[in-house]
């Protein structure tokens, strides 16, 4: 199958205090339709910038120069106009971030925010949009969705807010969902619920998933293939089972050895 996403020699260069810094140094990878691919690495390795490159979003308060090619459905996303890109963002490729509160409008009801996106992207009528909003809230496991749609973000718990963001992200049935540390701010029991939800939605909607995380436990159960990033480069890539069972790069081995285990074993210690 030809890939849904075909990234070649991607670079990202920032100006930090006037000094240019290359934070993504020419990486290449593919994601097939419906496939689930992970990116792991420590802070500053370039994994989040890579995710944002696909949405062509510059990290807050900075400007960035992208290089290389991001092939998606026969186009190079890096050459599209901002206007063309707006049609892709949210509709074909959607993204979920770590902090659900920062991604929601605090003075607008949750339902109205989803209605808005649906109407902008799909041209549904007000009434049809609300119907779909209620369906979506139900899909992500919010009880009494017709009533909760009128609540504001602060009336939801952290886990519920992340469910709302996932509902927004899947509202237009994107081909690719990018999730950047989607459960890092959540309690462990809520994290498990959100991971299950992402797995179920991916199956039901046939979406591809690009999951970015620092957590080897989270990545282990969620993806088919994984890319390990370090210093702006992919240092190792492969099927998830193979990479955990027999990591070849010393950096991957060092990371895996440092992961604390519930059974008390410390492979690195």
């Amino acid at each position: 199958m030809s890939p849904l996403l075909e990234v070649r020699d991607l670079t990202a260069q920032f100006a930090r205090d006037g000094v240019p810094a290359t934070v993504v140094k020419g990486i290449s990878f593919d994601i097939a339709p419906g496939e689930s691919v992970g990116f792991v690495g420590e802070s500053g390795c370039g994994k989040s910038v890579t995710a944002r490159a696909i949405m062509r979003l510059a990290p807050e308060g900075s400007s960035v120069a992208w290089g290389g090619r991001i092939g998606f459905r026969g186009q190079d996303l890096l050459t599209l106009s901002e206007r063309e890109m707006r049609d892709i963002r949210g509709r074909r490729i959607a993204m979920v971030f770590q902090d659900p509160m920062a991604s929601l409008n605090p003075v607008m009801s949750v339902g109205a925010q989803i209605d808005d996106i649906l109407r902008r992207h799909t041209g549904l009528s007000r009434k049809a949009a609300r119907q779909r909003t209620i369906e979506l809230l139900g899909l992500v496991g919010i009880r009494d969705p017709a009533i909760r749609a009128d609540d504001f973000p602060h009336q939801f718990s952290g886990g519920m807010r992340q469910r709302v963001l996932i509902a927004i992200a899947v509202s237009c049935q994107p081909d690719l969902l990018i999730a950047d540390e989607p459960t890092t701010a959540l309690d462990v029991t809520v994290q498990a619920q959100i991971l299950r939800l992402l797995n179920r939605l991916r199956r039901e909607l046939g979406m591809a998933l690009m999951l970015i995380t620092h957590d080897f436990g989270v990545i282990a159960g969620m993806v088919e293939r994984v890319n390990v990033m370090h210093g702006g480069e992919i240092v190792e890539a492969g099927p998830i089972d193979q990479l955990f069972a027999a990591p070849t790069h010393p950096y991957t081995r060092a990371l895996l050895a440092a992961v604390p285990r519930l059974d008390g074993a410390r492979p690195g210690g």
């Binding site: 802070s43 029991t189 498990a192 080897f216 159960g221 955990f244 990371l255 604390p260 519930l262 008390g264």
Partner: protein, 324 residues
């Protein structure tokens, strides 16, 4: 086992947050009791809002205590006059989560480390520089770097400075509240190793508060699980992790993602409904262990194996202790 007398003895600790805007007072910590022996670590785990941070602050008397006692080195901190409490602070210190905000950005590392030495006057003024250099070496930093500012250090190095500051006055007891949760996994492992080697060298007692159950497994001798302001299970690390008895502990352990693809996929594939732990709060009638605590005047607390305790509170309806 004839254990040495505990260094820290917490009994029936309670913290109540006052009523606000028409809402009733909140019992953030309720009936919490545990001991920490010299040179031992108690891991305190639980989810956000469970009361674990408030417990740590209440023990250090940084938070008004509404009930119970906290004995450190045999002295009840909750009833000490302010001047004596200040003197006791030399024995108990605090390491916080965020190494970025807990160091003063305009002070050099030398100034940061000398401050507690001056306040508690534990070393003569002439020996301060020497002690600062010694502390740097103790936490694995180059003593030549003491004239630098916090921003010149990495996250892991900053956490080492925070630890050095806590150890400056030779405390017996340190509360570590999420000391590694802001750090990358390799740095986490290094700080955990550092804390363990310092504990062995200095015979420190630690209260290690964290939401990450795998990290706590690596450092703790004993583990307490908190839920809704109470401890629901307490035991040796192996007892709590390998034979968890409270349904809440089991739920928590089952939710932890494990770095093993086949096992983790299987864990996520299990269709689970999170049980409701809020039931069974009645103080009368038989508890899940068949004891009427109101009638017998006992605490709702059961020793199911030597040193392994389980609360009979917060059991979901229909769930009973395993027999055997």
């Amino acid at each position: 086992m004839s254990a040495p007398p505990p260094l820290l003895e917490v009994r029936d600790l309670g913290v109540t947050f006052p009523a606000r805007r028409g809402r009733p007072p909140v019992r953030a910590v309720d009936g919490v009791s545990f001991d920490i022996a010299p040179g031992q670590t108690l891991g305190l785990v639980g989810e956000s809002g469970s009361g674990k941070t408030t417990t740590g602050r209440a023990i250090l008397q940084l938070q008004p205590v509404s009930a119970g006692t906290v004995r450190l080195l045999g002295r009840d901190l909750t009833s000490l006059p302010a001047a004596e409490l200040r003197a006791m602070r030399r024995h108990m210190q605090f390491v916080l989560q965020n190494p970025y905000s807990s160091l003063h950005p305009r002070m050099t590392v030398a100034q940061i480390l000398a401050e507690p030495l001056r306040i508690h006057a534990t070393v003569p003024r002439a020996a301060v520089d020497e002690r600062v250099a010694e502390l740097m070496t103790l936490v694995g930093l180059d003593p030549a770097m003491t004239r630098r500012y916090p921003h010149e250090f990495s996250g892991g190095q900053r956490q080492r400075i925070v630890i050095a500051r806590a150890l400056a006055v030779n405390p017996d007891f340190v509360v570590c509240d999420e000391p590694v949760s802001a750090l990358d996994v390799r740095t986490q492992a290094q700080i955990v190793d550092l804390l363990q080697s310092l504990q062995a060298k200095l015979r420190l007692s630690l209260l290690f508060i964290a939401h990450d159950l795998a990290v706590v497994r690596a450092v703790a001798h004993r583990v307490a699980v908190m839920y809704g302001g109470r401890i629901v299970e307490l035991g040796d690390a192996a007892q709590v992790y390998d034979t968890p008895a409270h349904p809440y502990t089991r739920n928590l352990l089952d939710a932890v993602p494990v770095p093993d693809p086949a096992r983790q996929r299987a864990r996520l594939a299990e269709a689970t409904v999170d049980p409701d732990f809020r039931g069974r709060e009645a103080d009368t009638g038989a508890c899940v262990f068949g004891i009427d605590h109101a009638a017998t005047g006992t605490a709702p607390w059961h020793e199911i194996a030597p040193g392994h305790f389980v609360s009979c509170r917060f059991w979901p309806r229909g769930v009973t202790p395993a027999r055997g």
